[in-house]
């Protein structure tokens, strides 16, 4: 067992030596892979942050019900009763039209304009606090309430959160496309690196086959090379993304101060970091495997 381990470790050591036989070339290869992977993973990290921001702000959704202007007091009471009986509603707040007008006067400098009006343009309104916060149930509730008698308009305050969610969905889709394209690029880079290696080590492969090397023995160092290069590229990508986010935090700090909030970008969590490394390792291995499958069988001793 220990013997097998040292054998594989020996292969890995030789693969490492070969990768950095030319230090600069090896480094740049890994950097290219790192940059390629860092693009989608950086965007992913930003999206994750935007999502947590959206969740923060859409914490307490409300539905505003505006009644029609000609609603009489007893009709208001009827609506109030219906709302109180509704199983999905936690709490209801009534804003009378006279109160609303007063508030408008206090809060804005429009009192001149308001005074000049010969009748109150504001309707009676209910502010409804639903029990559940999911977008779908909120939508259903809003539609339900809009059908009530005398309710002219029902407005869901989390509308903007919906828009943000749709935007995030769009962003995630864009990241997915970018990630697939750059994964393909990573596979291609490895494929070509390994192809060149196979060409330059043609003699060694031929001799090895002649003296009894199995195909898996010949394949192994190339696969290790691809996987190792992918892993190192993934590590490079992780550092690039982390540095990006930390750098962005400074200008973002002064920006969020202007909005009187404290918002910092979080770096990739451990789970996502591990997935990133696993995926890049796997893609490197896959590129190498494809290359080996394609080119190694062509080398048969004559």
């Amino acid at each position: 067992m220990r013997h097998v381990f040292t054998q594989h470790f020996g292969i890995l050591r030789r693969v490492w030596q070969r990768m950095f036989a030319s230090k600069l070339a090896g480094f740049f290869n890994i950097l290219v892979i790192g940059i390629a992977i860092s693009l989608p993973s950086g965007m992913y990290a930003l999206l994750q942050n935007a999502q947590s921001l959206a969740a923060q702000f859409s914490g307490t959704p409300q539905i505003s019900l505006f009644l029609s202007l000609d609603t009489k007091a007893e009709e208001v009471d009827r609506v109030r009763k219906r709302l109180a009986q509704h199983p999905d509603i936690a709490r209801v707040e009534f804003v009378a039209r006279t109160k609303a007008l007063e508030k408008l006067k206090q809060n804005t400098s429009l009192d001149d304009v308001v005074d000049s009006l010969n009748q109150n343009p504001l309707p009676d309104a209910f502010i409804v606090y639903p029990k559940q916060g999911e977008a779908e149930s909120l939508d259903a509730l809003r539609n339900d309430l809009a059908k009530l008698e005398k309710v002219e308009h029902a407005q869901l305050d989390s509308d903007w959160a919906h828009k943000l969610n749709a935007l995030l969905k769009f962003g995630r889709f864009a990241v997915a496309i970018l990630a697939s394209l750059l994964s393909l690029a990573l596979i291609t880079i490895t494929f070509n690196t390994i192809r060149l290696q196979i060409l330059t080590r043609h003699d060694e492969i031929e001799v090895a086959k002649l003296i009894g090397a199995t195909n898996s023995f010949i394949r192994r160092p190339f696969l290790y090379f691809g996987a190792l290069q992918g892993l190192l590229g993934g590590i490079a990508a992780w550092f690039i993304v982390t540095a990006e986010l930390l750098l962005l935090n400074r200008p973002l700090g002064s920006l969020s101060e202007l909005y009187a909030s404290q918002f910092v970008l979080h770096t990739l969590p451990i789970g996502d970091s591990l997935s990133l490394l696993l995926l890049s390792t796997y893609l490197g291995w896959l590129g190498a495997w494809l290359s080996v499958a394609q080119h190694l069988s062509k080398i048969e001793p004559r």
Partner: protein
């Protein structure tokens, strides 16, 4: 002649001699239409040493390639150690070849590593551990008198040294059969004798040897059985001195 007595005794000691290599009506035609071997049949017994000779293009290299399954026969059978080599699946080839030591005409040495690592390669392939393989590599290099050059790059070696290095690599995992294709090809007589002496020492320890050569001085030198190919056909060779005639062709 003392060697021969020794081997004869050894063979009789085992009772029935085992066939190590056996060709039975073997035809080999290349895709170009060139007929390299025609109806070739012969046996080589375990522990026997045989020379293979003939003009260039007579089919010597093809014959050796058939034994190592580098080429496959169009018809007839090639048995090595009772295995039908021509019918082996490609997955089984590595294990056949591990039992063969091959000394290539063009050496096929690797110039990206030193002498030691060239000899190490077969042991790495077979998965020997580090300490055991170092021991074996040094023993093999010692046998061909190259121990002092273990750190050198093979490109710095003379022709004779390269040939000896190739032999060391062929015998390092102690194969039971050694095939050599023109091992003394470009060497002067002194080096050639040296290499033949190495081969004879393997013969003494029971290795089966098939050596292709057209070096007259070597062919005359010993009483070893000679297989002669002419235009792909095996000649009945009355001059072959065969003390070990038990494995002679049918």
């Amino acid at each position: 002649m003392k060697n021969h007595l020794h081997i004869d005794e050894a063979q009789h000691g085992y009772g029935v001699t085992r066939k190590m290599i056996s060709f039975n009506q073997v035809h080999k035609r290349y895709p170009s239409g060139y007929e390299a071997l025609k109806n070739v049949s012969f046996d080589i017994a375990e522990g026997e040493m045989v020379f293979l000779t003939g003009h260039s293009g007579a089919g010597k290299s093809t014959l050796l390639k058939l034994i190592a399954a580098i080429e496959r026969p169009n018809s007839g059978s090639v048995l090595v150690n009772n295995q039908n080599v021509g019918a082996l699946k490609s997955g089984a080839l590595p294990y056949l070849r591990r039992n063969l030591g091959i000394v290539f005409q063009d050496h096929k040495l690797l110039f990206d590593r030193n002498v030691f690592d060239n000899v190490l390669l077969p042991l790495q392939i077979c998965g020997f551990d580090h300490r055991e393989s170092s021991k074996r590599v040094r023993a093999a290099l010692d046998k061909v008198n190259l121990l002092k050059r273990e750190k050198a790059n093979p490109i710095a070696l003379s022709g004779g040294e390269q040939q000896r290095l190739c032999i060391a690599r062929a015998i390092v995992n102690r194969p039971s059969i050694l095939l050599a294709d023109e091992p003394t090809g470009n060497l002067d007589a002194e080096y050639a004798q040296e290499i033949m002496a190495i081969f004879k020492s393997f013969h003494q320890v029971g290795v089966t040897l098939l050596i292709s050569t057209h070096d007259e001085s070597i062919l005359q030198d010993s009483g070893v059985r000679i297989l002669t190919l002419r235009h792909g056909e095996l000649q009945h060779n009355p001059s072959s001195n065969t003390s070990a005639s038990s494995g002679q062709q049918a």
